[in-house]
Symmetry: C2
Subunit: 218 residues, 2 copies
């Protein structure tokens, strides 16, 4: 086995593409496909084959000449590198429509993400059930985050509350945040934050609105 690069050497842009490859691989697996060439994988993921080969070389995966990548093996390898071989415990902050929708989102639970806590400041919402989870008082965040071993917090409040919420979840010990509020929040060094911007998807679609669409816009 060749020396494998350590996890720290995977570039940020490659990390951001690995879940796309994982989605393609899972779909191929579900369709009973055993191997995929870098060309097929690239086509389905909407990148070049050279990009695929370069990205996967960071994982020490090189495929087999003339055969391609083993779908099952590559699925497990990418999942392991992304840390998806363990259950990830998610807290949702903001029990409005978006928070409730995400708490019930089928695309999370099917992939090992488990919603273990939902917080809100509204006394009318605290104590009500969203799916299997009771909404907790946001003031109890430090206790609940610790007892529920929360890995990732999703901010689903309106924009004006987002920075306050980010400070609160960081204060409660959460090191990974996904912000759905349409505003930029800042976090201290050592905390990972990703901004989900649903407007970006609409802007990309806007480009193709008056053009002949490509066969598939991934």
């Amino acid at each position: 086995m060749p020396s494998m690069p350590g996890p720290r050497t995977i570039p940020q842009a490659t990390v951001a593409r690995l879940p796309l490859y994982l989605r393609v691989l899972r779909e191929a697996e579900a369709a009973g496909t055993a191997t995929l060439s870098s060309e097929e994988l690239a086509h389905r993921a909407g990148v070049t084959a050279a990009q695929i080969r370069k990205d996967l070389s960071h994982l020490g995966s090189y495929g087999t000449r003339g055969i391609g990548y083993d779908v099952d093996q590559l699925t497990r390898e990418i999942g392991r590198r992304l840390g998806l071989d363990e259950e990830l415990r998610v807290a949702i902050v903001g029990a409005g429509n978006l928070g409730q929708a995400l708490a019930r989102y089928g695309g999370f639970s099917s992939r090992g993400f488990r919603v273990v806590a939902i917080f809100d400041t509204d006394p009318a919402k605290v104590g009500t059930a969203v799916g299997d989870t009771l909404v907790a008082d946001a003031r109890k965040m430090p206790t609940v985050v610790a007892s529920q071993q929360v890995d990732i917090a999703l901010i689903t409040t309106p924009a004006p509350a987002a920075q306050w919420v980010a400070d609160a979840v960081v204060g409660a010990g959460v090191r990974s945040i996904l912000n759905f509020a349409p505003t930029t929040v800042t976090v201290p060094a050592g905390v990972s934050i990703r901004q989900v911007d649903l407007g970006i998807e609409l802007e990309i679609l806007s480009f193709y609105r008056k053009r002949v669409a490509p066969a598939s816009v991934v």
Copy 2:
């Protein structure tokens, strides 16, 4: 002025990055920044400076040596190329939590996307108000899509309904679809579809969970 490449010559991957640059430019504009070097723009967008220069060359934008890109001019140019200089009329299909959340999402209205119709099949939801819009019966889709001049449809139903809904909105004349249901749907040639996969963001965060996070994960 050098001959400008036509809109069709912009590669799909570049189109997908233009909204990221636009977000960085808008933030710079809001902060009163007049110019950005390709290095600064690249750093804030999380790509390489070479990538920025290549992407923007497809738009005929080359910046000024030693000064960089004019923030205001580039913002307008990218917006124009993406077709954002016109209002985009959006229909939401599925008036559950996610549909209601998107109907009220601040990140759409602030960028020229206007929700003009919400559909559902549930008689208990038809006729109720979501924001300023009344929920319409999904069976009236062809009439309402035509009268409201819908440009883009968002599918926010549970996964099992998504393909049926995609067929219905295409039948009603919509050519651009954003699918939030956690399942793949197929559309005929000439229709653009993008799959929003919220699990992907969690998978990327998962990677950084046990590592020192980069200064900013965009």
